[in-house]
Every structure is written in C-alpha cells, then in structure tokens.
Symmetry: C2
Subunit: 328 residues, 2 copies
C-alpha cells in the first residue's frame, strides 16, 4: 500500500490542490476558482467533488492518509478559517471538520506561511533543521517559525505575523488597518509602492515610467534592474534594507539557524539577498553576527503551495507516532 | 527521601545560591562575592565549598538531584558561560561540567532571563501556560520565551535577546556596541537616562533635580512619581510607551498567552503597566488586540534568581521522564 496525502492551498482567487507522496512527488494536481462560488457550501461541495475525482486517477494500491490545508487566517487549533479578508465568505469556516467528515481521514489546517514552513522542513532546504523561519513574499509578507523542530502556532494559533511588525508608525497604509507595516514595504505590492515613490521623488529616467501601477509586477522590476535601470535597482536596495533591518529583530527573538525567503521577490537572487544580508548583519546585536544564514527556499516551483499543505499531514503523522510512544 | 535542587545565580557583583524543594521552598540560601576572585579557578573552588557546606545543613533524608545555574551569556547547549561582559574572567567558562564532576548530579546552565522564564513556569504565575514571555527589568532588559511548553533556546543557544532590538538606530549608546537598543530605554538604567533627558530638555521643577545620576535609582523615581512629580511621571509614561510598542512586535512573532514583567521597574505597578498595555494594544495588529495579558511576575522576592536557577533542574527532570517514556 502506497500512502499519499492531499494538499489544498486556498487563495483569494484560486484553490490549488494535489496528491503527494512522502518523497514530495506530486501524483496529481488541479485548480478550482475560489471566486466562482457565492456560497461557502457550494464552494466546499465543488472542492470535495474535485478531490474525489482526483482520487480516482490513482490505482487501488494507493491510500489517502490525510488532507492538509493552507489558507490565510487558517487556525491550526480549531481547523477553521477565521474572518479571512481575502475570501468573500464571512465568519468562521470549519473546513478541517468538513473534510474529515467527507473523507474519514485527519485534516490539518493552518495559515499558508505556516504550511510553507512545514513544507520546507519535510521536502525543502530545512530538512535537517530544528530552528528556522520561512518568509513568504507574495501580495503580502507571511512567515512561519519552526522552533525545537515544532511549528510555532502560539497560544491563539496566530503566531508569525511578521508582515505586520512596524517599519514606520506614520508610514504607508496597510490592509490590516495600521500604518507602516513591514508588508507595505517588503512584498510584491511593497516594491511596486517603492518604485512609485522613487519615480515621484526623483528625476532619473527609468523604463518603469511607462508602466501603470496596475500593470507593474515584480518580474518587470527584476528585469529592469538586471538591465541596469537605476530606479529598479534602488527599489531592490531599499526593499532589502528594510527586510534586513527587520530580520535583525526577528533573529534576536528566536535565534534561528536560517531564514528562508520564498516567492516572487526572492527569485530576484542577489538583487534582494545581498542588501537583505548586509543590512541584517549591520543591525544585528554583535553576539549574533555571522551566525544566521539567509537562504532561498527549496520549494520554488508551481507546486510549492500544494507541497506545503500536504506536508502538514506527514508532520502530523510523524509527531503522532512520537506521541503514541510517549503513551506506552 | 526528600528531593531538592541547588540554584546558583551568577551576577557581576554577587553569586547567590540556595537549596530548593519541588514546591519552591528555599531550604538554605547564601551569597559569595563574585568580584572577590581574580582567577576563575579560585571562584569555582569557593563556590563548590559554599555549596558543599550548605548541603551539610540538611539531614540525611534529603537528596540533591541537580544543580541549576543562571548567568548572563550562559549557553544551555554547551553548559558554558561564553564571553560574559559582566565578569572579569574572559573566554569560555565550563561551569556545568565542573559542577557535575564535583557533585555527580546533572547541572543545567542558561542565561538568567531564561532561568526566570522556567522559574515562572515551575513556581510562578505561568504554571498552567505553554506559551509566554518573561521580561526581566534590571540593569539591562532580559527576556525568556516558552513556546509549546519548552524553553526557547534557539539554534545557537542565545534566543530571547529582546534588550537589543532597535528603538532608534541613531539613539542612545548601548553596551553591546549598537545604538538605540531597547534596554537603553527600558530598564533601571534606561529610566534614569530618560529622567536626565527630561531634566535637560524641560524647565519643570522636579525633586529629582537634586539627585546625581550615580545616586538615582528606580525606587526614587517611583516614589517621586507617587508624590506627583511631573518628571518622574513623564519618565514612566515614556518608558511604558516604548516597552508597549516593542511588545506589540514581540506578540506577532510568537503569539503568547501572557507577558510577565519581572524586576525593580515592574514593581512600580500601574505607573509602568498602564502605559505599557495601552501602547501595546494601540500598536498591535488588530487580529491580536485584547488577547495577550501583561502581568506581574509571580516571583517578586529576594529568592527569585535562586528559584529561577533551581527550576531548570525540575524542568530538565520532568522532560527527561517524558523522553524515557518515548524510548520504551
């Protein structure tokens, strides 16, 4: 019997799902549009149907051992999505319970950045680490902490919201209601805002002057920087400076072995890693200097969110074995 | 047979030690002067002699089960004190090994704030908590984190250095070599610096104008504030504002159930707690507001450092029992 898990990544626009074995091989993957369903009940029916159909593609020597879900505002302890701002269904959505009732296997739910951290530990570049941080750089900035080999969920199940630490209390407006949060500077959206600020303040020529805010994306800024565009390069330098300064604060909290950067911005390579590392080291308490690695995630591909979600099940089953032994 | 542990708290000036039972009753306590010994070897000999003498005060139905040590720059993993700036003996001091060789019991060493956190969990106000932070407000600002019921040591054994997070990169000079670290504002020394800054900037009368920097202490500032001294009150307000702002950053990292304040400054009650809580809540990401308690430590007495150090042994023995069960 070959065991596999299902991984579900619920985004504001699309829900990606897939079937994954213990080694991280994706046996099936698919997508449904999250926005197609006005009612949460209809969304869940469609999702369950899609997963059921995917199971039929595997032959009978395969066994589903659990379902992992990554979603913004997912709470590990309750298995609910609670008041997510990126979904139109309001209130508390008891997804883990619904999936368990439907498929009769354990269902583990947490927020997408926590799923990325467990994915890094199970399949990625943190396979032999017990203390590390994953920073996901997408529309916003998410983060997941592993300490003593265990995902840090915190008392209320909402640990690791580094995107909402403060860079400047009178700075850029943030979706969370505050101002100057880290993710308003360091994220795909943050670097766009920085480009527009630089274009507003300075007179330099830049190929980015021809692109509207709505059309601008990280890839364009990266390519312009590679071609030597002075505004694009300054935007990366500024983004890395702010990320480095804030990572210096995070390091003295949990003293990780490494910090992994995941997502579009992190794929700009030296453009983002060099200023980040330089400013982190400069701002670190001397005791910590030269000790903490800043590395690219080992899961930089299309299937990463599915791998992250599916890894939650393997992590749960591994720890359950330990727990059983404790009970002997 | 009645089991007890020895707790040793190594400070720059004095080394306090004591014998403590599982309920936190201090059976013996004593002090030797850390500064009396030019050579580390002589210090250790005197310390071992003092502990040996204390053991003779208990009758033969008592059994020493371990020694716990709290010390600045103590490393949990190695059992060494490493390059402590508050001691005159330089380099690496292998204290845990020396004590184990001498007394043939386990010796657990960590930094003093981590010992305070474990003490809070074993004997204090965090007895039923699994996720909390202890902030020690002395000459500097120390901190210890417990996450998932386990002391957070980090990868290099130096987690929890919140005293060296940044308030203002061009601010007050810090012993660590940086500028604007949290402990230059929030500590017994920090509030003195704030009083002097206020006296320099403002014209208001204050009873504190008659006291030199060297003579000024937290107790004087607290008493002046209780009498309505405007400078003393402003100093507490400013200290609480900065502490609250920084605790809001810490909360989104590890999502604790509670934050405990320990040490002289925390004994000023509402003077420090009210502004700290108000500014923490104002600066928190809305998702976390109203969730995290800020409370006084339950170990506010002379024996607290000894209790903290001795608790390391009980915590170690409790977890060892769990580990043994895992191995069955």
């Amino acid at each position: 019997m070959k065991e596999f898990t299902a991984g579900v990544d619920i985004g504001g626009t699309n829900t990606k799902f897939g079937l994954v074995d213990r080694e991280g091989t994706v046996l099936f993957q698919g997508t449904i549009r999250t926005t197609d369903y006005a009612e949460f009940e209809d969304y869940f029916k469609a999702m369950a149907e899609a997963v059921r159909n995917s199971l039929r593609t595997l032959n009978s020597d395969h066994k589903l051992v659990g379902i992992g879900i990554g979603a913004a505002n997912g709470n590990y302890y309750t298995g609910n999505i609670e008041r997510a701002t990126n979904l139109k269904w309001k209130g508390v959505l008891p997804l883990a319970k619904l999936f368990t009732d439907e498929f009769h296997v354990p269902c583990i739910l947490t927020n997408d950045a926590n799923a990325a951290a467990v994915g890094e530990m199970i399949y990625g570049n943190a396979r032999n680490m017990k203390d590390f941080v994953v920073i996901t750089l997408g529309t916003g900035l998410g983060s997941g902490f592993v300490c003593n080999g265990i995902l840090l969920n915190g008392h209320h199940g909402i640990a690791g919201e580094l995107g909402h630490t403060s860079v400047n209390p009178t700075g850029r407006f943030c979706n969370c209601g505050k101002r100057g949060c880290l993710e308003t500077y360091v994220s795909a959206t943050g670097i766009k805002r920085t480009v527009y600020k630089l274009l507003a303040d300075h007179l330099e020529n830049s190929e980015l002057r021809g692109i509207s805010f709505d059309n601008l994306n990280t890839k364009m800024i990266t390519e312009a920087a590679h071609r030597g565009d002075i505004v694009a390069r300054a935007a990366f330098e500024y983004t890395g400076r702010i990320l480095g300064m804030k990572l210096a604060e995070t390091v003295v909290h949990t003293d990780p072995e490494a910090i992994f950067l995941f997502g579009g911005l992190s794929q700009a390579g030296d453009l983002i890693f060099k200023p980040t590392i330089r400013h982190m080291e400069e701002n670190l308490m001397p005791l910590f200097r030269g000790k903490v690695k800043v590395l690219p995630s080992g899961l930089q591909n299309q299937a990463a969110p599915i791998l992250g979600a599916s890894s939650l099940v393997w992590d749960y089953l591994d720890k359950k074995v330990q727990l059983k032994l404790e009970m002997v």
